[in-house]
């Protein structure tokens, strides 16, 4: 067995579990706090000492949130933008990643080097000119403006290439070609099935990145809202002589739920994806 010998590690003791439990508690505490404050009235939330157990006013606060911001529209907008970007990134990255991993063409390594280099470019800094460009083309305040900058990512191309190098045996492509399949046909019937697990992970990552992005939609949108932008407006409403934490935190909690559901369903793949990317990258 190549597992660690029993003298070296053995089974972890109570200390390890205890420390990990503390980490998990720390991870979950803010979420608990959000629900706790979000389920009290405004006055209770500002009590000193603060309440420590959930109250019974969550739905009342939720109603106030829905009256303040257009939560459902923001949710729908987030869903549209994140899905469009996810599908687009997965499609174009698989296409390019397959080409870089399995096909030989002049300039391939130079172009791949360019892709790797662009991964290190802090594109967020180009926000202002991007805003000017969107304004010039009349795209401001549209969901298209939000989605455009993330239709392709260098990371996606890199990720798919790393995965496909080992995932498809050269013989398989060769066989398809000998059978007279066109390049596109070969891509579709050989590469895509082999790439499926990586495609799922890449979709998940892109979806989450776009869903959680705050700066760019804040810049590109005025009356339209994605979830983070709606939260921004909600926070501004909640400000005042005494901040209305019950309202703000109830909204923050509500905005967290969709992604948490996704996390519970697909957390396993997410963990695998992060760990895979680490070893290969």
């Amino acid at each position: 067995m190549s597992r660690r010998s029993s003298t070296a590690t053995g089974r972890p003791g109570f200390l390890v579990y205890g420390l990990l439990a503390a980490v998990v508690l720390g991870s979950a505490l803010p979420l608990y706090w959000s629900y706790m404050i979000g389920s009290h009235t405004k006055d209770e939330a500002n009590d000193s000492p603060p309440p420590l157990l959930p109250g019974g006013h969550f739905f009342e606060n939720a109603r106030r949130v829905l009256d303040t911001i257009d939560f459902w529209q923001a949710l729908l907008n987030s869903l549209i933008v994140a899905t469009v970007c996810g599908v687009s990134v997965v499609f174009f990255s698989t296409l390019a990643g397959y080409s870089f991993a399995k096909l030989r063409f002049r300039g391939s390594s130079t172009l791949m080097g360019f892709v790797v280099m662009t991964m290190a470019i802090p594109t967020q800094l180009a926000t202002v000119p991007l805003f000017v460009l969107m304004r010039n083309y009349g795209l401001l305040d549209t969901l298209a403006a939000v989605a455009l900058p993330t239709l392709v990512t260098a990371f996606g191309v890199f990720f798919m290439r790393q995965y496909l190098i080992d995932a498809i045996p050269d013989e398989l492509i060769e066989a398809a070609r000998v059978d007279g399949a066109s390049m596109l046909r070969t891509f579709w019937s050989v590469a895509v099935p082999a790439a499926r697990p990586a495609m799922a992970i890449l979709f998940l990552f892109t979806f989450m990145t776009v869903w959680t992005d705050y700066m760019w939609p804040l810049v590109a949108l005025q009356d339209t809202e994605t979830l983070p932008v709606a939260l921004d407006r909600l926070a501004l409403t909640g400000q005042g002589q005494t901040t209305d934490y019950a309202l703000v935190l109830c909204g923050a909690g509500l905005a967290t739920i969709p992604l948490l559901i996704l996390f519970v369903v697909s957390g396993r793949q997410l963990v695998a994806g992060i760990m895979q990317g680490a070893v290969k990258g």
């Binding site: 190549s2 010998s5 070296a8 053995g10 089974r11 972890p12 390890v16 420390l19 990990l20 980490v23 998990v24 720390g26 991870s27 979950a28 803010p30 979420l31 706090w33 959000s34 009590d47 603060p50 296409l95 390019a96 397959y98 080409s99 030989r104 172009l111 662009t118 290190a120 802090p122 800094l125 180009a126 926000t127 202002v128 000119p129 991007l130 460009l133 492509i173 070609r177 390049m183 959680t212 700066m215 810049v219 979830l227 983070p228 939260l231 921004d232 926070a235 501004l236 400000q239 935190l249 923050a252 905005a255 992604l259 957390g267 396993r268 963990v271 992060i274 760990m275 680490a278 070893v279």
Partner: protein
């Protein structure tokens, strides 16, 4: 690779006169397909990236050396270094730059140390392995904008849980002498950095821990066995086997956290409880990216904002290159 040889060999075979035209045409089309397809497949990425990634970057440099007429919303003439001159002499920008580095250091260093420790805890034959791994990743699934608002409440200067606890234990005899008590999380410059760094750490530590965990599991187990035979304890093994072996991953994490850590925006913008939201009443925790946003999007000084962006860009690239050079140096030394 094999495909190309095979396909290129085919048309070169002497064509017998009996071969019909259709076959020839198909072969020619197949060869064209083989040559052009790879470029066709990578081109959507490069075209789209060029439009929404590269072009805006070049346009940033262009805008940074031009005037901007805010009243009529049009670009003014070339004005050389004037925007750079303004930004570099702007006390707010200088303050934002110091804040950026302060927050970056307070977030990256503890984050990496903690992530390595958590990874070491996870790197064993745990019961419920998937549960623990998913649990440390939980903060990654929380929308940052929501997380900042929640932390803002936890750290509220008067009613926040943290200050209430600090006030309570500040009454205890010894701690009272140590000066422990409520902290002005929003108004005190360095404490506000600490608070923002804490949010960044909360989000990213578990994520990085999983990256380190992957690296640790790739360490050959017999290295541990021979270290154990030499009589090294667990802690000793960690220092002399685990840490050197995960060094490349360490540098990878440091480089990525540098690029992210110098562009922090969500936290300083939403942590602010003043209506202007420019990083505190006196810009205590305004970061460079927030400066770019305020100058560019809110005040519409596109030239100045672009100049600030170029300056930050140069800084980030310089630090990334420095990290890269350091990696090469360290890994080479490790190989020797």
């Amino acid at each position: 690779m094999l495909t190309e040889q095979r396909a290129e060999a085919a048309p070169r075979e002497p064509a017998t006169p009996t071969v019909d035209r259709r076959l020839l045409r198909r072969q020619r089309r197949s060869r064209w397909d083989l040559k052009v397809s790879p470029y066709l497949y990578v081109s959507p990425f490069f075209v789209l990236f060029g439009i929404v990634g590269l072009y805006p970057l070049v346009y940033t440099v262009f805008l940074s050396v031009h005037d901007w007429d805010r009243l009529y919303y049009r670009r003014g003439g070339f004005n050389g270094w004037a925007n750079y001159d303004f930004v570099l002499h702007d006390p707010v920008f200088q303050k934002a730059l110091v804040n950026t580095f302060s927050i970056f250091l307070m977030s990256s260093v503890p984050q990496i140390v903690l992530a390595v420790v958590i990874a070491a805890l996870l790197d064993g034959q745990l019961r419920g392995r998937t549960f623990w791994r998913m649990s440390v990743l939980l903060p990654f699934a929380v929308v940052p904008a929501a997380a900042v608002l929640i932390f803002g409440s936890l750290l509220a200067d008067r009613s926040g849980l943290v200050n209430q606890v600090l006030a309570q234990i500040g009454d205890w005899p010894v701690l009272h002498q140590l000066g422990i008590g409520p902290v002005a999380w929003h108004d005190h410059r360095w404490w506000s950095h600490f608070a923002i760094a804490g949010m960044v750490n909360w989000r990213w530590t578990g994520y990085n821990a999983l990256i380190f965990l992957a690296a640790m599991q790739a360490v050959p187990r017999d290295l541990y066995e021979s270290a154990a035979l030499d009589g090294g304890g667990k802690i000793r093994q960690f220092w002399s086997v685990t840490l050197p072996m995960i060094r490349p991953t360490m540098v990878f994490v440091i480089v990525t956290s540098t690029i992210g850590g110098l562009q922090i925006f969500t936290e300083p913008r939403l942590f602010d409880d003043t209506p202007n939201r420019e990083g505190g009443a006196d810009h205590e925790f305004m970061t460079s990216t927030l400066y770019i946003y305020v100058k560019g999007i809110e005040d519409q000084f596109y030239g100045r904002a672009s100049a600030a962006a170029v300056i930050l860009f140069v800084i980030i690239v310089a630090i990334a290159l420095l990290n890269f050079g350091l990696t090469r140096f360290l890994t080479r030394r490790a190989e020797k």
